[in-house]
Amino acid sequence: MRTLTDLDQSPRSSEDATRRRYQGDEPLARDTVNNRGGAGSARPHESAVKHVTGRAAYIDDLATPANTLHVMVGQSPVAHGRITRMDLEKVRAFPGVVDVVSLADVPGHTDIGPVFGGDPIFAHDEISYAGQNLFAVAADSYKAARQAVKAAIVEIDEQPASLDPVAAAEREEFVRPTHVHERGDWQAALDGALHVLEGTQFVGGQEHFYLEGQACLVEPTEDEGVVVHTSNQHPSETQKLVAEVLDIPFHAVTVSNRRMGGGFGGKETQASPWACIAALFARRTGRAAKVRLPRADDTRGTGKRHPFHNAYKLGFDERGVLSGGDIDVIGDCGYSPDLSEAVVDRAMFHADNAYSLGSARVTGKRAKTHTASNTAFRGFGGPQGVMIIERAMDDIARYVGEDPLTVRKRNLYREADPDGTPRNVTHYGQRVEQISLLHDVISQLEDSSDYWNRRREITRFNAQSPIIKRGLALTPVKFGISFTAQHLNQAGALLHVYTDGSVMINHGGTEMGQGLHTKICQVVARELGLDLEQVRITATRTDKVPNTSPTAASSGADLNGMAARDAASKLRDRLFEFAAAHFDVEGGGLDRETMRMEHGELVSGYGEDEQRVAWGELVQAAYIGRVSLSEKGFYATPLIHYDRATGRGRPFYYYAHGAAVSEVEVDTLSGEYRVSRVDILHDVGDSLNPAIDMGQVEGGFIQGMGWMTSEELKWNDAGQLTTVGPSTYNIPAFGDLPETFNVKLMEGHPNSQASIYRSKAVGEPPFMLGISVWSALRDALASMADYRFCPVLDTPATPERVLMVAEQLRQAKRSRYNDNVRPGHEPA
C-alpha cells in the first residue's frame, strides 16, 4: 500500500528573510511586487546558486559512460571548390580512432537544412565554405580525435569564392527569392518631396560567442534510437533531423536540454549538425558519443549574424519629416537558406524602426556567398533593418540643420499628420497601437538623461577641443513580437503535482541564461499560490512536451508562460471542484465561487466565512480521492497573420519599445573612443521579473554595443575567416561597461495585448539600444564638419574605421573643399 509523506502544515514564509533589496547603482534596485516569489517579483535565476558554485552542469560536465567516444569533424580549408580526393585511411589508422564517417555512411537524409534544405550533413562533391564539414571521426579521447582529423588527405579543386553579397545580388545569386513590402505611391512621394537624400551602408555581422561552444552527448537506446543531450535552442527540430538522418521514427529520438551556456540564436539551427553526427556514431558503435567543438572550429563552422548592405532614398520636407521613399536591404546569407528567408523579412519589417516612412517600398534580397550559412542572432535581422533608417535620420537632421533627436521625434509613428494623413500604419500594413507609449518613452528619457543641457555642453566642448570630440545620440526601438512564421507561435507545458505538494513544471522552452525557467516557475507559483521553492523545473525534453518551437524571437516567456499558466489554472480549477465537494461536507461544502489559492493554502469565503485548506492536505486528499494531479497546457498566439503574396498583415502580436541615450568621447587622432554615459528606458509591459528583465536590457545593450563597435569579423581573400577566437574577435570586456549606466524599466504601461500578466518580451528588443552608441560616434565625427552633414560610418565602428573617417574629415577641412565635399551624402 502506498503511504503518504507527513507534511509540515505551516505555510512557508522562509524566503522573506533571504530576500534582500539587491544592491547596485541607483536606480537599479527595485522592490519586489510580490514577495512570495510569484510572477512579478525580482527573484534570482533559478540556477544562480548552482552557477556560482560550479554545480550547474553543461553538456561537457555530464557524467559519461566509460567508453564514451569523442567526436571531431574535419572541416574544409577552402571556401569554394570540388573535392577531387578524400582519403581517410590514415584517419582510420590513427591510434585511438574507432570510427570515421562521411556522406556515404548516412543511412537516412543527408540534407539537414532546417526549413528549406541546402545544408548537407557532410560536403560530398561541392564545397561551399571554408569550415564546412567533410567527415567526422570518433576516438577514445578528445585529443586523439583532434589529431586524427589532421591525418586526412583531402584534395580540392579550388574555385574562386564569391564573397561580395552586393555583386552576388547583382548577378541574382540568391538563396531565396526577393520579397517586397510596398505601401502607397513611393515614387510619387519621392518626386513630390522638397528634399531627397540617399545613401548606402555596410552593417557587419556578429559571432554569437556563446561561452559554452556547440556540444552534445548522444547515447544509444535499447531500441533503434538515441537520447541526445545537447546545448540547443530547438530540441524538437534536432529530434526531427536526427531521426531523419538515422532513418528512424521521431519517437525513437529523445532530445534533452537542461541549460545552455549562452545561445543568442546560435543554437537554434546550428546545434543540430553535431547531434546528427554524434547520433550516427552512437548507432554505428553502440557507444555514447560526445561532440565538443574547439572554439576555432565552432567559429569557422557555424553561421553568424547576417552582414547587410543597405541603401535608402527618402523624400522629406523642410522639417525633415519623411514623405516616403525606397529602401533596399541585402542580407549576406552565406551558402544556404537556413533561416535567411525570415531573417531578411525581419530586417524589412524593421526598416522603419519607430518612424512612419510614408509611402514606401522596402525590398529585401538574400544574397548567396561562400561563407557559413548565416543564421539567427538576437534580433534576427531586425537590428540590421533598423540601422538604415537610423542612418537616414541622422543624415536628414544634419541636412535640414536640426538636432537628430528633433527629427527623430517628428518622424515617430503618430496617429496622423496635421492634414489628416494617417501615420500609424507600417509599410506592411500593421497598425502601431501603443503610440502614446512610444512617445512617452522618448520624452521621459529626454528629461531623465538631461539630453538638451548635455547637447549644449557637448557643442561648447567640441568647439574648443581640437582633438577630443564628444557625441550624443538618442535612438528608439520598436520591435515586433511574434515569430513571423505563424505556426511557430504555439507552446505546450506539462505540470505534475506530487503527493508531498511539490510541483514540477516542464515546458517547450529552453534555458540559455535568459531566465525563462525562473519566469515559468514564477507563473506556476502565482497560479497555485505557492512559494517559488515548491515549484521545480526540469530539463526541456521532447518526450515531455512534444513538437515545440525554438526558444527564439523573444517569445519564450510569452508562449510557454501562457502554456504553463493554462496547465496550472486547469489543475487549480480541478482541485477547486474537488475541494468544494470534499471539505466541510457537514457545512454544505466549501464555496466554489470565492475559492482562491493564497500563501500555500486554498481559501474560500471571506471574513468569518473564510475557510482554509493547506496545499499539502488538499493535494493528498485529491490523490486519495482519485483526482489527477497532472495537467498539460497549450497556447497559440491569437490575432496574428501575414500574407507573403501581398506583403500585408499583422505579423506581430504587439511591439516592444525602448530608447537609449549614449554619450561618447572620441580621440580623433587615434580613433579610440569611450562610451562615457548611457541612459536607457525600456518597455517590458508589466514585468514578470524586474531583475531578470533588467539583466536582459543591460546585457542586450552591451551586446548590441559590441556589434556596433569592437566585434569585427574578417575574412581573407580566399574566404577563410581569420577572426576565429577571442584573441582576434573582441566582444565587450568589463571595462567597456559605461561608467554611468542608468537603466530603468518603463512603468505604468501594461501590454495592450493579453500577454502573460500583460508583460512583454524582452530578449531581443534591447539589443537595438546599442545602435545609439554608433549614432553618438557619428555625432562626434559630425562635429568635425561643423555638423553640416553626418559622415558615413560603417560598422563595426572600430577605432580603425573611426580614425579613417576622422582623417577624411580633417583632410577635407584642410583642403578647403569643405564647402563642396559632403562625404557620405549624395544629394539626389
Binding site: 544562480a48 556560482v52 558554485t53 572554439r295 570586456a733 568589463f734 571595462g735 567597456d736
Partner: protein, 502 residues
C-alpha cells in the same frame, strides 16, 4: 608526480603527461567540472582558478590564472583553489553570495571564472585593503568575458562582496594549511623533485638549467606557458620535452645596481608592475592593458621577449628604454642590446642552447620622458594593432636621447632611427615633427591583418607622433602657465582620452 593541494586536500598524481593543462587535470583526471573551458586560449577567463603559493611567512598568496593554458606540472607545491572549493555545504563565499544577490549570472558558464577572479580580489582586499577603483576592478575582472550580463551586476558584486558575512570553506578554517603548503613547497624544491613524467624538468638554479640546456637543446622552455600552451590547445601538437624555468632562483630575482635593474627572465609581469609604477609609470600603465591579470600573473618579461612576436607589448617599450639582455647557456653568458636580439619575424639572436637570463632596465635620468601608447580594437584584454613607445629628454628646449620604437609596424618590434634622427637635437616643433613623420612613413612596413589594415597602421603610427608633439607642447605650456594640462577644464590641450592617457 604532481604533488599539490586542491581545495585543501593533498593530491599526488602520477602519469600526468607533460603537456597537460591544469584545466584538463581538474576536469578530466579529477572529475571536477565546475571550472569551464570557454576558449582554451587564455582569453575568456571561464577557466580561471586561483593558485596559492606560500610566502616566507607561510601565508598563502592567491593569484588568478587561466587554467586552460597553465601547465599542470606547475602545481607542484601549490594550493589550487577552484570554484568547488569556495563554499561549504550551507554557506556561499561572499564572492558567490554577492553574485547571486546582484543577479550576476545569466547563462552561468563564465560564472565560475568570474567567481574565482572575485575570490582573488576578495583575498587581496583582506590582506591589503585598498579602494576599489575602476582600474583595480578592470584589473581584477578584465580577463573574464561575459556574453550575457553586460557586467553591471558583476561590478555590483565586486563592490559589495566585502559587506557580506564572512563565510569560509573548510580548508580556510584549517590554520595549518599555510604551513602544510609551505612545507610541501620546500620539500618539492629541496628534493628538486622532478616529475615522473620524465619530459618535464624543473631546474632550481641556473647551473642546473645550463646543464639541461646542454643535454636537451630541443626541449621547449616554459615559464608562464601563456603562448607555448596554445600549441597544444589550438594546434593540437604534442609537447613532450619541457624545461620549466619558473623556479630557477637566479631567474626570478630583480637585482638593483646603480645604473638600473637586472630583471630575471622568469619574473612575472604582475611582480614587475610595482617597480615599473615607481620608475616608469607609463610602462606600468601599459601593463594594465597587457592581456589580463590571469595572464600577467603567469607570463614573464623574458617570455614576452623570447616569443619575439611583432605585436608583443613589452619589446617596443624596452627598446625605447635602451634595455639590454643577458643571455646564458652551457657555453657561458653574454650581453646584448635588445635591438640586436630581434633579427626577423620570430627569429632572434638566441642560440639553440641559450636562454634569456635577465633583462637590464636602465634607471631613468631625472629629465627622462616616456610615453607608451597601445592601439587595439578593445581597450582591455586585447592585442596591439600598433604600439608606439617614445623616450626623450628635453635639454634647453631641444630633444635629446630620442628613442622611438613601434610594435605592429614591421616583422619585428623595432626602433625607427631616421625618425629619431629627425627629432634628435631639434625643438619639438611642428617642423621637426613633420620631418619625423615623413621619415616614419618611409621606414616602416606594417602588415595588414585582422587587427588592422596597413593604411590604418601607418596613419595611426604617424598620428601618435602628432599626439606626442601636442603633448610635449601642452606640457611645456602648462609648465610655463602653471595650469593643469590635459584636464577637462583645458579643452585645447586635451589630446588623449583619460582612460588611455598616461
Amino acid at each position: 608526480m604532481i604533488d599539490f593541494y586542491l581545495n585543501g586536500k593533498r593530491q599526488r598524481l602520477t602519469n600526468v603527461s607533460v603537456d597537460t593543462s591544469i584545466l584538463e587535470l581538474v576536469r578530466q583526471q579529477l572529475g571536477q567540472t565546475g571550472t569551464k573551458e570557454g576558449c582554451a586560449s587564455g582569453d575568456c577567463g571561464a577557466c580561471t582558478v586561483a593558485i596559492g603559493e606560500p610566502d616566507a611567512n607561510g601565508t598563502i598568496n592567491y593569484q588568478s590564472a587561466n587554467s586552460c593554458i597553465t601547465p599542470a606540472h606547475q602545481l607542484n607545491g601549490c594550493h589550487l583553489v577552484t570554484v568547488e572549493g569556495l563554499a561549504d555545504d550551507a554557506h556561499l563565499h561572499p564572492a558567490q553570495a554577492a553574485m547571486v544577490e546582484c543577479h550576476g549570472s545569466q547563462c552561468g558558464f563564465c560564472t565560475p571564472g568570474i567567481v574565482m577572479s572575485l575570490f582573488t580580489l576578495y583575498e587581496e582586499q583582506n590582506q591589503r585593503p585598498a579602494p576599489l577603483t575602476q582600474q583595480r576592478l578592470e584589473s581584477a575582472l578584465g580577463g573574464n568575458l561575459c556574453r550575457c550580463t553586460g557586467y553591471r551586476p558583476i561590478r555590483d558584486a565586486a563592490l559589495t562582496m566585502q559587506d557580506y558575512p564572512k563565510a569560509t570553506p573548510d580548508w580556510a578554517a584549517n590554520a595549518a594549511l599555510g604551513t602544510d603548503v609551505a612545507v610541501l613547497a620546500k620539500d618539492v624544491s629541496d628534493t628538486g623533485r622532478q616529475s615522473d613524467a620524465t619530459g618535464y624538468a624543473m631546474p632550481r638554479n641556473i647551473a642546473a638549467l645550463r646543464e639541461l640546456k646542454a643535454k636537451r637543446p630541443g626541449a621547449r622552455l616554459v615559464a608562464g606557458g601563456t603562448d607555448l600552451w596554445l600549441e597544444t590547445t589550438q594546434q593540437v601538437r604534442d609537447i613532450v620535452d619541457i624545461i620549466d624555468v619558473r623556479r630557477v632562483a637566479e631567474l626570478t630575482e630583480v637585482e638593483e645596481v646603480n645604473e638600473g635593474w637586472w630583471i630575471g627572465a622568469s619574473v612575472s609581469l604582475s611582480a614587475l608592475m610595482p617597480l615599473l609604477a615607481e620608475h616608469y609609470p607609463a610602462f606600468e600603465h601599459l601593463m594594465h592593458r597587457f592581456a589580463s591579470s590571469q595572464i600577467r600573473n603567469r607570463a614573464t618579461l623574458g617570455g614576452n621577449i623570447a616569443n619575439a612576436s611583432p605585436i608583443g607589448d613589452t619589446p617596443p617599450t624596452l627598446l625605447a628604454l635602451d634595455a639590454r639582455l643577458r643571455l646564458d647557456g652551457p657555453r657561458g653568458s653574454r650581453e646584448l642590446a635588445l635591438e640586436d636580439f630581434f633579427l626577423d619575424y620570430k627569429n632572434t639572436a638566441l642560440e639553440d642552447d641559450e636562454f634569456i637570463a635577465a633583462i637590464f632596465l636602465p634607471r631613468p635620468a631625472a629629465d627622462h620622458n616616456l610615453k607608451v601608447w597601445k592601439l587595439s580594437k578593445r581597450r582591455e584584454d586585447d592585442i596591439s594593432a600598433v604600439l608606439g613607445a617614445f623616450a626623450w629628454r628635453l635639454e634647453n628646449g631641444v630633444m635629446r636621447d630620442v628613442r622611438l620604437a613601434f610594435g605592429g609596424m614591421a616583422a619585428i618590434p623595432r626602433r625607427v632611427p631616421a625618425t629619431e634622427a629627425a627629432l634628435e637635437g631639434s625643438r619639438p616643433d611642428a617642423a621637426a615633427f613633420a620631418h619625423a613623420r615623413a621619415a616614419l612613413a618611409k621606414e616602416l612596413t606594417p602588415m595588414a591583418d585582422m587587427r588592422g589594415s596597413a593604411e590604418y597602421r601607418t596613419l595611426a603610427a604617424g598620428n601618435l607622433l602628432e599626439r606626442l608633439r601636442l603633448m610635449i607642447d601642452a606640457e611645456s605650456r602648462s609648465a610655463s602657465n602653471d595650469t593643469q594640462a590635459n584636464n577637462d577644464n583645458n579643452f585645447a590641450t586635451k589630446v588623449t582620452l583619460d582612460a588611455y592617457a598616461h
